[in-house]
């Protein structure tokens, strides 16, 4: 446990000045900021549509969730998996890392958990900023009715789903980035995978839920459908989420075997 804690600290220390770390913070601020600015600027038309408070929140948070879930999230996850490993590839530091008096599994697990942590931070900020900026909009434009509905449940469950649904992709990309030190291979495979995943999910291919890259799209779609029938019921642990978690567990274990053979040429 001490090895894991130390390795996690070191991961943070190494990456705190890199784009990978700041992306986790800047991405939600920029996207939520832009959407809120749009809602502030176009408040007249939106108020004219006369949405009930719940629908207003749905429209507002859906803007971020839709962009995030469909496109940015998979690429962000691919980028995180890449950066956490690339820091060692680029500097040729794998051998140094594994020559430290630390448990090898802990070093590997810390890298993985750190990538998970960055994704968690990013999504947490998305949920928190959506909530906070919504209330800020209410203060700036008193005609809005954001204050009349509490969206926390929807926000937390939707982002929790997105988080769990992305872990399958993360683990797969993590392996690819471990194997290859360059940017193009993991990125290329991730890009093709993501496009395929989105298409497979959208045409409703019956095996779509077996493709890790389809899972965030599928998970969010379930959220949307449920919103119409019963808006307060967004079960987090649906089938796609379990599939994603199972993929994550399998790839995580395979990754460890790759790492023990690695860095040692």
């Amino acid at each position: 446990m001490r090895s894991l804690y130390i390795s996690l600290l070191s991961e943070f220390y190494k990456s705190r000045k890199t784009l990978a770390f700041w992306a986790a913070i800047l991405l939600p601020i920029i996207i939520c900021g832009l959407i809120s600015f749009g809602f502030y600027n176009g408040s007249k038309e939106i108020i004219a549509a006369n949405n009930p408070p719940m629908m207003l929140w749905g429209r507002y948070s859906g803007a971020a969730l839709g962009v995030m879930g469909l496109l940015i999230m998979p690429f962000y996850v691919i980028f995180m998996a890449f950066s956490v490993n690339n820091i060692e590839h680029k500097n040729d530091t794998w051998k140094m890392l594994f020559a430290q008096p630390l448990n090898k599994f802990a070093i590997y697990a810390a890298k993985y958990l750190y990538a998970v942590f960055l994704i968690f931070i990013c999504l947490f900020l998305f949920a928190a900023l959506t909530f906070a900026f919504g209330h800020l909009l209410q203060v700036l434009v008193p005609e809005y009715n954001f204050g009349q509905y509490n969206p926390l449940h929807i926000l937390i469950n939707s982002y929790a789903k997105l988080f769990f649904a992305s872990l399958g992709i993360l683990s797969l990309q993590f392996i690819l980035s471990l194997l290859w030190g360059d940017f193009l291979k993991p990125m290329g495979i991730g890009f093709v995978g993501t496009i395929m995943g989105i298409i497979a999910a959208n045409v409703g291919w019956k095996y779509a839920d077996l493709i890790p890259y389809s899972l965030p799209t599928l998970a969010l779609r379930v959220t949307k459908v449920r919103k119409l029938t019963g808006p307060l019921e967004i079960p987090v642990f649906t089938q796609e989420i379990w599939t994603s978690l199972i993929y994550a567990a399998i790839f995580f274990i395979i990754g460890y075997f790759i790492v023990t053979k690695k860095s040692i040429k």
């Binding site: 130390i6 070191s10 220390y13 051998k95 140094m96 020559a99 430290q100 008096p101 630390l102 860095s263």
Partner: protein
């Protein structure tokens, strides 16, 4: 076994079908500076990686401070500091941050970082990004990283690579100081014998994965026997005469004959004999084969 910091017993290591290390039996005494010599590609770096357990050795072939490495990996690594190939440095961090990161990984005080920077002469460049460092500065930072945990055993893979003459002398003095004052054991690899000769107490020469020589530096010196080199005008006649008088000719070129040196008296006799037979001797001197040539000989015959 108790007296060795490193001991390998008939160590074999292959990459697929390619034999990298063959029946290697290193014995590095505690407190020694062990010069690990060999041409490029001889298996030096591979051996060092095995000693760090980066490459897995067969069981019961590698012992560090008497303990089998595979079953004592973490405990063993705690006692080793290493610099393997290029120093492992994060380019986007400053020199100091690189050392602090190492302190985090080793669970030691961060104040050690400044101490090490001063030791290797990087105090002024402490807050400069490591990617902006010169090759020599990177090498110093690598040495600082190896030393930061105050390890009993140091594995330095070509530590003077890329250093200027001043830097080379500094590293040399640092090694001697560490071994004599702080009782560290140092294994330092190099492909340059002259480099090792000045610091090492013990030498191991490896070529194509096999250990060709192992012993103290004095034992290595004994291997190089002195010779007598004679420059003459009539080389054929002179050779015949010298051979006829019972001297052993080691080599001859078109104006120089090399014979085994036995004593000053014998050299004088040989000179007199040549002159009396009408041969002009332009020079006659005793030569000790330098270690550089010895090293070349040892590694070439294999």
């Amino acid at each position: 076994m108790g007296n060795y910091a490193i001991e390998t017993v008939g160590l074999n290591f292959n990459f697929g079908n390619q034999v990298i290390v063959k029946d290697l039996s290193l014995q590095v005494p505690k407190g020694s500076i062990y010069g690990f010599l060999g041409p490029n590609g001889a298996g030096k770096t591979t051996t060092i990686k095995i000693l760090l357990n980066l490459l897995k050795s067969p069981s019961d072939q590698v012992f560090i401070f008497g303990k089998e490495i595979n079953s004592n990996r973490i405990a063993t690594l705690k006692r080793i500091g290493a610099l393997v190939e290029q120093p492992a440095i994060y380019g986007h961090l400053t020199g100091k941050e690189n050392l602090i990161n190492r302190c985090i990984l080793l669970g030691i005080k961060k104040s050690k970082a400044d101490e090490m920077l001063a030791l290797v002469g990087l105090a002024e460049a402490a807050n400069k990004k490591a990617s902006k460092y010169s090759l020599g500065m990177k090498q110093r930072l690598g040495i600082a990283q190896a030393l930061i945990s105050d390890p009993e055993l140091l594995l330095l893979d070509e530590p003077t690579n890329g250093l200027d003459p001043n830097g080379i002398i500094e590293v040399r003095n640092l090694m001697i100081e560490l071994a004599t004052k702080h009782e560290k054991t140092i294994l330092v690899s190099s492909h340059l014998l002259a480099e090792i000769e000045r610091t090492a107490t013990h030498v191991g020469i490896i070529n194509k994965g096999e250990l060709l020589f192992q012993g103290t530096i004095n034992e290595l010196h004994l291997l190089s026997k002195p010779v007598l080199e004679i420059e003459v005008d009539q080389i054929e006649n002179a050779s015949a005469l010298i051979a006829g008088a019972g001297f052993e000719i080691i080599a001859h070129t078109n104006n120089k004959i090399t014979v085994a040196f036995s004593s000053a008296g014998k050299s004088g006799e040989l000179n007199t004999m040549l002159i009396q037979n009408g041969i002009t001797v332009s020079s006659l001197y005793q030569q000790r084969k330098d270690l550089e040539n010895l090293f070349l000989d040892i590694t070439k015959t294999n």
